[in-house]
Symmetry: C2
């Protein structure tokens, strides 16, 4: 396991916290299709603008959203960089879920063989 | 973007919430080295057993930890499967962070070329 510094751990806390809400994940998915203003981002949700702004704040603190001025309008932009940090953290565990899948596959395979042996035995 | 059902969204909420705390991530890292009982898991932390148990509960709800009986002792085991779900969700954004890195690389490259041109110009 890679050793993370306190500030990296703090960043991971914020990134994973930002991802732990389906509204925030939906906002990221919307931003993946292009920049948007707050009212556009709020449109699909049955939520007040302050509630949406709170979600945008959480995404911004995690570094996943950047706001920039477009004349008098402030547009929101996806910043996917921190997701690579999260992906790297998760990647360490890949060998574990793959070995669990291998075990499950071999268990199912053995079960199938046993069933076939029993089935063939009955029809001899 | 893959469309997730409500129950899948709920699972993602729980998985990312479980990962949003450095103590819980450290517990997963410890479990990656082998099964452990609660007191073993609590050892590295300056935390009460009930506080650790609460963290274990969050990991268990996210499906990342399984408890099984070993005689009279209950051991905790890592279940990495849900991390694959989280990894799949994040993977969609890979092209975004990669294109951001490409843009940064070409910006830095252009800057370097400009600096070199200026430097060579001065020394002609």
């Amino acid at each position: 396991m890679v050793k993370y510094s306190n500030s990296q751990e703090f960043k991971l806390d914020r990134i994973f916290h930002a991802l732990s809400d389906s509204t925030r994940r939906a906002i990221l998915a919307r931003l993946a299709t292009g920049d948007a203003v707050v009212t556009e981002l709020a449109e699909p949700f049955d939520m007040s603008l302050p509630a949406i702004s709170k979600h945008l704040g959480v995404l911004e603190k995690a570094g996943l959203l950047q706001r920039h001025k477009d004349g008098r309008i402030r547009r929101c932009e996806l910043n996917a960089g921190p997701l690579e940090t999260a992906s790297d953290w998760i990647h360490f565990y890949r060998e574990f879920w793959e070995s669990q899948l291998d075990s499950l596959a071999s268990y199912l395979d053995n079960n199938k063989k046993k069933r076939n042996t029993r089935h063939n035995g009955k029809h001899k």
